[in-house]
């Protein structure tokens, strides 16, 4: 049995434990014992519980062993420099002195370590995501030798350079390209039937050379043969290792047997190696065979094209070569290819979501702000403490320590704090990533390359270590430089009250300004993010998503190949649903609102010929059964709904959306007018109604023109059943599934989700962003509050004497309070102004990167500025009031 795979304890924790325990007490047996207990815990508490348990226990054991080792040999420490001691031994002494100082001032050290841990963990989490999703999105061999070839659409738009390729164009590219071997992939989600209940599989049709190009060898059997790319010879399949184990219990005799895929017998010729699931979590692959019909339609672009570069060939060479082919095709086939060019990208870069990289940039900026804020806070605390220690430091200098020596001691203390923070950040990061993974629905995770690979690994720990060192410089150096400029005379004379004079005040004041500014930037960014997301999730998109269950049904090709059979099945299904108890509305649609799919067609308007040759008219197509508008509560503004009379024999009709009506029949009443889709072969359809607009996806700001066709006139095999119940739609899932199985027991039902769920899953990236930003904003607010409080408390303590004198001389408490508060508030105000500028910059960046779901709005700015100002006042007023309660006599005598 392979144990070390996913089933074992968290690898990082195990590695750390082994490192920390070392050879001292037989690390192997200890690590083994904990692995054994983890194994048992897993059964009792599940994976997550066991992993948490493991981290805790491993930390306990490692800590105990470290203490025991430490006790075993501990020489006396001298806090003062010893003349003539070597650099290294001095360093070692400083390190241990630092460790001891930290353990002696526990509360102080704890605050600093926790602050740093939060800042570092936030960064490490985003770092792990960037590393997994952007830098190394998937575990393919030699991925840097793979390129993806996209078409570039002349229509423009955010994803115009990521278009797919038509089979005919692909065949031409393949023939004319010498620098690389091109392969093509086509979506082929297939239903597997037989033995147990039918199941929908993620699959792809691929060129025969697919496995070789991907750099994998088929684990059992063989890959595809070149002749299997011919229609009629293509009924063979390779299945994934996971499917083989799940559905066929790892049957060693499976290769050579026949299974039913999409209602057709397919010969299983091979099993893919374990863990290979490219692309998009595929479980089945079949050869891609082009029919003459497919090769004749250059406008149908649906292939993904990938190439493995020959040795010594640069991607630019491939780009040039294929671009030359594409240019030739534009002149040879102007009707379909005019304006189309190609875009060759490294595969690793091409799979990264168009929005993901910029989205992660925003996250990274926000996390860096959190870390900087944490550093500023720690720097503050250190400055405050350095002031308390000015006597000690002055004494060191007086006894012969050089300034460099004092700086080194202080920086080493900071470094020790940073290391403690980084170590504490590891489990935090791990927990944050576990939460991220748990929050991502699997059907979305499938499309995020590298999602499964995201983990706390050595690269992330390395990044953490680097950040920790960098933050030491950020928070430790400045206070150290400051603190080392002491003169014994001043320090002793002022009794530690004023420390290094005005300069230190200025530095502290600057820190307040910086903290407030960064916190405000974070808070407003968080506010904008959360507001944008709630708007997207809960705005009126033209339909009512509550109480609706959606179920996708893809009819098996062999049994329902004619439109009549498709109609009979689906129309019967809707009738069954309408009659069922608890169902208030039932209808079918080809594409559910808010889903990740879409269907679009170019259109031609009768009586409005295109005048500008560059203009392209297109609209989203929805094929629906009568009752769709009622079931989704989409209002019809004019005209009529579809009815039973809209049969294939009747006049072809359509309902258009408001936007379509406005855009293509400017100032006219479209009802009674005609248009056609599907090119010149399509029939002219008469508009019989106008519906309200439906906002299909959150990331499209513009509402696309849409037209609806009656299902009877445009039957299809792949439809979504929408069921509306009275309340909670979840019981409708089982009911709907039952209805489909009652009509055909071999027919799988999948993507069963409530419409609300479809909507939130569609915006899951946005929700993630908002949650991240929200957490960062709160952390920022907290850190700023603590920072301001610490500074104010310190300032008040420094001035207790002065306040006492003032009160004794008859100053009114309110005046003293105002004077104390006044300085803090002035600094806060400056910070707020700087922060507003920062927030505006970050907000604009977010506005650009998150498809306009986020708007920079004044209200958010005002609200959060007020929130932070309030927090700052609250943080200042507590210490200020405390100063007033001081008895003047005690305050004066105190010094």
């Amino acid at each position: 049995m392979q144990y070390m795979g996913n089933g074992g304890p968290p690898r990082l924790a195990e590695w750390l434990l082994r490192r920390l325990v070392g050879g001292s007490i037989g690390a192997d047996a200890v690590v083994g014992d904990l692995a054994e207990e983890h194994h048992a815990e897993r059964r009792a508490r599940g994976r997550l519980g066991a992993d948490v348990w493991y981290w805790r226990e491993a930390a306990g054991v490692a800590g105990r062993v470290a203490v025991a080792l430490h006790r075993a040999h501990r020489p006396a420490l001298s806090p003062f420099p010893i003349p003539g001691d070597s650099f290294m031994s001095g360093l070692w002494r400083d390190l241990r002195l630092a460790a001891r100082l930290i353990t002696h001032q526990r509360a102080f050290a704890l605050i600093i370590v926790l602050t740093l841990a939060v800042g570092l963990a936030a960064n490490a989490t985003v770092l792990a995501l960037v590393d997994g999703l952007v830098l190394r999105p998937f575990p393919l061999r030699d991925i840097d030798r793979l390129v993806q070839v996209f078409g570039v659409s002349p229509e423009g738009g955010p994803v115009a350079d990521r278009a797919e390729v038509s089979p005919a164009d692909f065949v031409d590219f393949q023939r004319e390209t010498r620098s690389t071997d091109l392969i093509a992939l086509q979506w082929w989600d297939a239903t597997i039937a037989g033995r147990t209940e039918p199941e929908r599989l993620q699959g792809f049709k691929v060129s025969p050379a697919f496995f070789g190009a991907m750099g994998v060898a088929v684990a059992a059997g063989r890959g595809f043969l070149p002749e299997e790319a011919l229609p009629g010879r293509d009924r063979v399949a390779v299945i994934s290792d996971a499917l083989w184990k799940r559905r066929f219990a790892g049957d060693p005799q499976l290769v050579g047997r026949t299974v039913m895929l999409e209602g057709e017998p397919h010969l299983i010729v091979g099993i893919a190696p374990p863990k290979f699931d490219y692309p998009y979590g595929s479980e089945v692959w079949a050869p891609l065979a082009f029919t003459p019909d497919a090769l004749s339609r250059r406008q149908s672009r649906y292939l993904s094209v990938i190439g493995r570069l020959h040795d010594g060939v640069a991607p630019a060479v491939v780009q040039a070569e294929i671009a030359a082919s594409a240019a030739r095709l534009t002149t040879q086939y102007p009707t379909t290819n005019r304006g189309w060019t190609v875009n060759v990208m490294p595969l690793a870069a091409s799979v990264v979501d168009v929005g993901a990289a910029s989205f992660l940039v925003v996250q990274q900026v926000a996390t860096l702000l959190v870390l900087l804020l944490a550093c500023a806070n720690v720097a503050n605390l250190l400055i405050v403490r350095a002031a308390d220690r000015s006597k000690e430091l002055a004494l060191r200098v007086a006894l012969g320590a050089s300034r460099w020596r004092v700086i080194r001691l202080l920086v080493i203390e900071s470094l020790a704090l940073a290391i403690a923070g980084a170590v504490s950040a590891i489990p935090l990061t791990w927990a944050a990533l576990a939460a991220c993974r748990a929050a991502m629905p699997p059907n979305i995770a499938r499309f995020i390359r590298g999602w499964d690979e995201v983990d706390v690994d050595l690269r992330v720990v390395g990044g953490l270590a680097l950040l920790a060192v960098a933050s030491t410089v950020a928070f430790g150096l400045l206070p150290a430089l400051r603190a080392s400029q002491v003169s014994l005379n001043d320090a002793l004379k002022t009794g530690g009250r004023a420390g290094g004079g005005g300069g230190r005040h200025r530095l502290r004041h600057a820190m307040v300004v910086v903290e407030v500014a960064m916190a405000l930037t974070l808070l407003i960014a968080a506010g904008l993010s959360v507001r944008g997301t709630t708007t997207v999730l809960f705005r009126d998109d033209g339909y009512d998503p509550d109480g609706v269950m959606t179920l996708r049904v893809s009819l098996l090709g062999a049994r329902y190949e004619t439109p009549e059979k498709q109609r009979a099945f689906f129309e019967g299904l809707v009738d069954d649903a309408r009659g069922a108890l608890g169902i208030e509305g039932a209808a079918l649609v080809n594409v559910a609102p808010a889903s990740m799919r879409n269907a679009t067609s170019s259109i031609e308007i009768d009586g409005h010929p295109v005048t500008d040759a560059a203009e392209r008219r297109s609209a989203d197509v929805r094929t629906v059964t009568p009752g769709y508008f009622q079931a989704l509560r989409i209002r019809l503004i004019a005209g009529r709904d579809f009815g039973r009379g809209d049969t294939p024999e009747a006049q072809p009709v359509a309902i258009v959306s408001e936007t379509m009506a406005r855009r293509y029949w400017k100032g006219e009443d479209p009802i009674g007018r005609r248009f056609r889709s599907d090119g010149v072969e399509g029939p002219w359809r008469t508009v019989v109604g106008i519906s309200r607009d439906v906002h299909h996806t959150w990331f499209m700001n513009d509402i696309a023109p849409t037209f609806y066709l009656p299902f009877a006139q445009q039957p299809a095999s792949d439809m979504v059943l929408m069921l509306r119940g009275a309340g909670d739609p979840s019981p409708l899932a089982a009911a709907g599934r039952q209805m489909v199985l009652a009509r055909d027991a071999g027919q799988p039902v999948y993507e069963v989700r409530s419409l609300r769920q479809v909507r939130s899953e569609g915006a899951v990236g946005l929700t993630f962003a908002a949650t991240f930003m929200g957490v960062f904003g709160l952390v920022g607010l907290l850190l700023a509050g603590v920072g301001i409080y610490a500074i104010m408390a310190y300032a008040v303590r420094q001035r207790t004497h002065e306040i006492g004198v003032r009160l004794a001389l008859g100053a009114r408490p309110r005046e003293v309070l105002a004077a104390t508060l006044g300085r803090g508030l002035r600094l806060t105000a400056i910070g707020l102004v700087v922060g507003l500028a920062g927030a505006y910059a970050l907000g604009s960046l977010m506005e650009r990167t998150l498809f306009g779901s986020i708007r920079v709005d004044a209200l958010t700015f005002v609200v959060f500025t007020a929130v932070l100002a309030f927090a700052a006042v609250a943080a200042s007023i507590v210490p200020a009031r405390r100063a007033l309660r001081v008895d003047p006599m005690i305050a004066i005598r105190h010094q």
Binding site: Y3, V21, I25, V30, G32, D33, R64
Partner: protein
């Protein structure tokens, strides 16, 4: 001269004896927790086992690698002659000191 036993060391030695041939850290800890009625941190147990072995009161050997331990072996402990002598000495000391002593608490009178 027998080595002086700390209280926890004493418990660990007795637990190793009780568990017998299968005495590695996991059941030894369980034995102390169930019979001894106290919780035991893993770290303390490991350092104590190590210390007792260094003092020569425990001997250890490695078992076969096991898959549920990620292919690692268990370290089995047994009490050495010297350990037995220490235990005996400790028991005699306790018995001698306990003889004739009443451990019931005196009624508090105030």
């Amino acid at each position: 001269m027998d080595t002086y036993l700390g209280e926890f060391e004493h418990l660990v030695l007795l637990a190793v004896l009780r568990v017998g041939d299968d005495a590695y850290a996991v059941p030894v800890r369980a034995e102390i927790e169930s019979r001894g009625g106290r919780t035991v941190s893993r770290g303390a147990l490991y350092t104590t086992l190590d210390r007792l072995e260094q003092k020569g009161l425990l001997r250890s050997r490695l078992g076969d690698p096991l898959p549920e331990r990620g292919g690692r072996a268990r370290r089995y402990y047994s009490v050495s002659q010297r350990g037995l002598a220490s235990l005996r000495a400790a028991r005699e000391a306790i018995d001698g000191l306990s003889a004739g002593v009443t451990l019931e608490s005196k009624r508090a009178t105030s």
